[in-house]
């Protein structure tokens, strides 16, 4: 099992095999790119991180996995690697779960039901099932790869009818192609890239220029949609982690304010 996982993550950079992602920040950007390319999305990356931790999955803490995940996302962002919205959305989900785990929630009778991890765990399990299923499928012998149809030419007189095609069928086929091509144009436009590091700079500038506190909610631009909110949220948490801003709150459930560090 473990050999298989490390194999999956192997990247070759400048002729050197990377069997594991280096933990320090000194990583050639192309290594990261290869690394990211080898994942089929955020669930895959998350699963890899959980596995890589090698410790007992029984003791897995969402907090650790979330920190790791955010580190990777952050690193990739610094290196200006385009991150799909799915990766950022997952980061936000994890951050939300982490914060819920930290909050002293009112204890409920049924812990299982209210475990904020339940949903993500369910998704990870389903994803892993499908991942294994895909591997199984690929290993299953199939026609034209392991098996070839064994057949003798029929001695039948060569008057086998050929397929008939009429104009209507041809037109319908072509309009299908055109419709699909048009659909692709609409849906495969690259979305505008929102960069977490850029957002961090914006927020820092705003907070520094403000005389006192900036309301936390004022930093979000709702018209940027969910992705924009996620990016802003990530940027604030990053700044917080780096000690560049402080978030203050006067009491439980009171509004949050953001200030530049050392300005209080």
């Amino acid at each position: 099992m473990d050999t298989q996982l490390s194999e999956a993550a192997i990247a070759r950079v400048r002729g050197v095999n990377l069997s594991e992602f280096p933990t320090d920040l000194y990583v050639p950007p192309e290594a990261l790119r290869v690394f990211l390319d080898s994942f089929e999305g955020p669930l895959d990356l998350l699963l890899y991180l959980i596995r890589k931790h090698d410790f007992d999955i029984l003791e897995i803490s969402v907090s650790k996995v979330t920190d790791q995940y955010l580190q990777y996302i952050n690193l990739m962002d610094h290196l200006d690697i385009y991150l799909a919205g799915e990766y950022l959305a997952m980061a936000a989900t994890l951050a939300a779960i982490k914060s819920r785990m930290l909050l002293p929630l009112v204890a409920t009778e049924d812990d299982e039901e209210d475990d904020p991890r339940a949903e993500i765990v369910r998704r990870l399990r389903e994803f892993e099932r499908i991942k294994r299923a895909a591997e199984t499928l690929d290993e299953m012998p199939r026609l034209e790869r392991e098996y070839f149809p064994a057949f003798a030419t029929s001695r039948a007189p060569e008057n086998q009818p050929l397929p008939e095609v009429d104009m209507r069928a041809l037109m319908s086929a072509f309009s299908d192609v055109l419709l699909r091509a048009r659909y692709r144009e609409h849906h495969e436009m690259t979305p505008e890239v929102l960069s977490v590091s850029e957002r961090m700079a914006d927020i820092l500038a705003r907070v520094a220029s403000a005389k006192r506190f900036v309301p936390f909610v004022a930093l979000f631009e709702l018209q940027e949609g969910r992705l924009g909110v996620v990016v802003t949220f990530l940027a604030i948490t990053q700044l917080l982690q780096l000690g560049r801003v402080n978030v203050v709150q006067r009491g439980s459930f009171a509004p949050l304010y953001v200030t530049a560090a050392g300005c209080e």
């Binding site: 099992m1 089929e40 999305g41 955020p42 669930l43 895959d44 959980i50 007992d56 999955i57 029984l58 897995i60 799909a84 799915e86 997952m90 339940a118 765990v121 998704r123 990870l124 399990r125 389903e126 994803f127 892993e128 099932r129 499908i130 991942k131 294994r132 299923a133 895909a134 591997e135 199984t136 499928l137 690929d138 299953m140 012998p141 199939r142 026609l143 034209e144 790869r145 392991e146 098996y147 070839f148 149809p149 064994a150 057949f151 003798a152 030419t153 029929s154 699909r180 659909y183 692709r184 849906h187 495969e188």
Partner: protein, 189 residues
């Protein structure tokens, strides 16, 4: 025309058609042509018996008689595949992880919408993947889900089963058994 022995007729149909053939299809062809020793009484049963004999006769031969969802088909045994590939001068197509995972979701969770596939895999699905699988005739649209937008529902085809040598979807391994023990036991705790 002399009457022909059923055994040879069935063998000729199996090896001469180049495709999977069901007992029913063979029975219809025999009734259609006639000229068979012993007439057409209890044909299905008799064809079934011939097939058993033919399967046994493959012992020690470089080919075998497969029983899949689409019918019976002679195929060469796996160890000879490299020679035939080399002769044909073309490598069998390989499929990307994204394609295989998409196919796996459809095979194990059918019928599913594109949204279901995206939800399970956690990433956007490139249309060309579904297109390629439809093209390959491994999946088909079985209907539309009665939700806004009426998204298409995808399922696997008989050709899919035939290609993977399966008689029915029940022969796919159980998805839960594919999970590693660690995830199975650990994650929820």
């Amino acid at each position: 025309m002399n009457k022909l022995a059923l055994g040879e007729v069935v063998e000729a149909m199996l090896i001469g058609s180049g495709e999977a053939v069901s007992i029913d299809q063979m029975r219809r062809a025999i009734v259609d042509v006639g000229e068979i020793e012993g007439g057409v009484a209890k044909l299905n049963e008799r064809i079934g018996k011939v097939i058993k004999e033919l399967q046994a006769a493959c012992d020690g031969r470089p080919f075998e008689l497969f029983d899949t969802a689409a019918g019976f088909r002679y195929v060469t045994r796996a160890q000879y595949a490299p020679f035939i590939s080399s002769l044909k001068g073309q490598k069998p197509p390989t499929y990307s992880r994204a394609t295989l995972e998409t196919l796996a979701v459809i095979a194990w969770r059918q019928p599913v919408t594109r949204g279901d596939i995206e939800q399970i895999r956690g990433v956007r699905l490139n249309s060309s993947i579904l297109r390629a699988l439809l093209d390959r005739d491994w999946i088909r649209i079985t209907g539309h889900k009665e939700t806004p937008g009426r998204p298409a529902l995808y399922a696997t085809t008989r050709a899919f089963l035939d290609n993977f040598g399966l008689k029915s979807l029940d022969e796919l391994p159980d998805a839960d058994e594919l999970l590693t023990d660690r995830v199975q036991e650990g994650l929820l705790k």
